[in-house]
Amino acid sequence: MIAFSLRQSWVIGLVVLFVALFVITRFIQPAYGARDFASLTQAALPYAFAVAAQTVIVLAGGIDLSIAAMMAVTSVTAALLMKDQSAASALYAVPLVLAFGFALGALNGILITISRVPDIVVTLAMMFVLQGVALLILPSPGGGAADWLKALVVGSLSVPGLPDAVSAWIPHALLVVVIAVCVVWIPLKRSQLGLSIYAIGSSELAAFRSGVPVARTRILAYGIGGIFAALGGLTLTMSTGIGAPIPGPYLLASVAAVVLGGVALTGGRGGLVGPIVAVFVLRLVRTDLTLLSVDPNVTTIIEGVIMVTVVMFGALLAMRGRST
């Protein structure tokens, strides 16, 4: 138990921080209730998937600057596939979009492997390409989404047998994140592929020498990142009802939350839970500042300062850890 809490100390710290922030929120705005929490999670949804995508790739020792553009592409694809279609159309649209995301991510991985160009450069170039593709698919915001998909991220759960006061605190959006993460991440982490991802992240050479198929693992890691990005794109379409070809601010946010979530940017260390909790912490900070009627631009400053301070603090801790 002690070993577990030591290993997970960063995540536990984040959860404590989230709870503390939540108490503060209730303090500032006593009326802050389940409904507000639901809208918070709904707003955090695309961020959560963006950061999940980035985390998998960073764990494998890479970085993906094309995440936001990839979300835009998958979002417009989903919106176009479901436009003026029956509710059932979403049944094939969703898997199609997820497969598309996987293909786009894997393409990044393949290009990095084949061209031997550094990942930052490849994904930077792909960012331009994907932005272009999104504009070609849908020149202006439009398309549509199936109603039941839209309902999936709005409101909260009602479980028979549970009092409403409790179940109201389980928003649909939160369930979507938890289920998606459980379905993709947990089997992955327990599989050989998951181990290989951590291995190539911490030392590519050592992994190669112990027989890990480095190229294949990297491509798959980018592919899984692509699936998460596609989920992010889907949730964008689901919560707005349309697709927009312009990438949102998700790249910056994803990198920030990855670092806040205790994942080493050099790869190989960290998990998926930390970054996702970090997303919620960041969104709640924003909510608090809004509730305090702070100028939204000052909020940007505060967010930036938090990000820089946390990263500096983390880097300092890492240095201490190395020297002792």
Binding site: I120, G132, V133, A318
Partner: protein, 328 residues
């Protein structure tokens, strides 16, 4: 053991060519630039004239200045993504303060945030060892927030762009852009410092092998601090110049140039891991990107296709280029 030294086998022509290109990376870039111009001339005969050349240079100079900022930081394995915010801040402060202060004070005021952000970046990267990508993203975020708050306070007082800045940004003297007056000395200084001074050697040494350079006596954090401040100052100058070209101060003036400046530096053959590269080739990279943009505009493609091709060309050029350098 014969007395006659057998002549070295003459390497294959292709290999010799590759060797030459690897030793002089500027040659393939010049060839590429000429090729792009030739294609442009073919597609739209008569487009290449002195005025067009002057215009291309004029628009390439702010990009080349930003590429200078990227080159300096990339040589030590870093990157400066705060240049967009820094340059925009300098331009915006200049335009809003020129009405209240004399030019020298205004210049100092507009360079001040650049120095501060540069110092913050240098301290974060050099002393705290934060990843440069994160550090500069963060300071850029803080800077853009401050800029927006600042904009609220001056929204009533209006802005103006002094004629001198416009003259410098867009003016031509005998068909030569005036901006070159500013750019040539700066570029010469960067190239001189990197190639001929002890500081320049330390920069390359740190980028090549940080531990070895520390053991041989260079102080990591001092070099990094100096580089990031210099990078910010270059960005501020680029911002001041670019507002002379665009002639309207906006809050996102320089943002569209940030990622292209990284691309220009990479096309110019500077390694993103540090230790290899030069500023001269980055300038060519900026010119190539400008000509490429013109080319894609002339082809009258939809915006999406244009962006896509832009990305593909960056990827392709970098891949081919790396292959040439690494294989020989």
């Amino acid at each position: 053991m014969s007395e006659v030294a057998s002549p070295l086998p003459q390497p294959h022509l292709g290999r010799r060519l590759r060797r030459l290109m690897a030793d002089q990376p500027i040659i393939p870039l010049i060839v590429l630039l000429i090729l792009l111009c030739a294609v442009l001339q073919l597609l739209s005969p008569g487009i290449i004239n002195p005025l067009w050349v002057a215009n291309t240079i004029k628009f390439a100079i702010p990009l080349a200045l930003l590429a200078g900022a990227q080159t300096l930081t990339m040589l030590t394995g870093g990157l400066d993504l705060s240049v967009g915010t820094v340059g925009t801040m300098a331009a915006f402060i200049m335009a809003t303060q020129i009405g209240h202060h004399d030019p020298a004070t205004t210049l100092a005021l507009s360079l001040l945030p650049a120095v501060l952000i540069g110092l913050a970046n240098g301290v974060g990267v050099g002393i705290f060892r934060v990843h440069p990508l994160i550090m500069t993203l963060g300071t850029g975020l803080v800077g853009s927030g401050i800029l927006q708050v600042y904009q609220r306070t001056v929204i009533a007082s209006g802005s103006e762009i002094p004629p001198f800045i416009v003259w410098l940004g867009t003016g031509l003297t005998y068909g030569v852009p005036n901006a070159l007056l500013l750019f040539v000395p700066i570029a010469a200084l960067i190239i001189f410092v990197l190639r001929r001074t002890g500081f320049g050697r330390q920069v390359y040494a740190i980028g090549d092998n940080e531990k070895a350079s520390r053991l041989s006596g260079s102080t990591y954090w001092q070099v990094i601090l100096a580089l990031y401040v210099a990078s910010s100052l270059l960005a501020a100058i680029a911002g001041l110049l670019y507002v002379g070209v665009i002639r309207t101060p906006s809050l996102t003036l320089l943002e569209p140039l940030v990622l292209p400046s990284v691309a220009a530096t990479i096309i110019g053959g500077t390694s993103i891991f540090g230790g290899r590269g030069s500023y001269a080739t980055a300038i060519l990279g900026a010119l190539i990107l400008r000509v490429l943009t013109t080319l894609l505009t002339v082809l009258q493609m939809p915006e999406g296709l244009r962006q896509g091709l832009f990305g593909l060309v960056i990827l392709l050029v970098t891949a081919i280029y790396l292959r040439i350098i690494e294989d020989s």
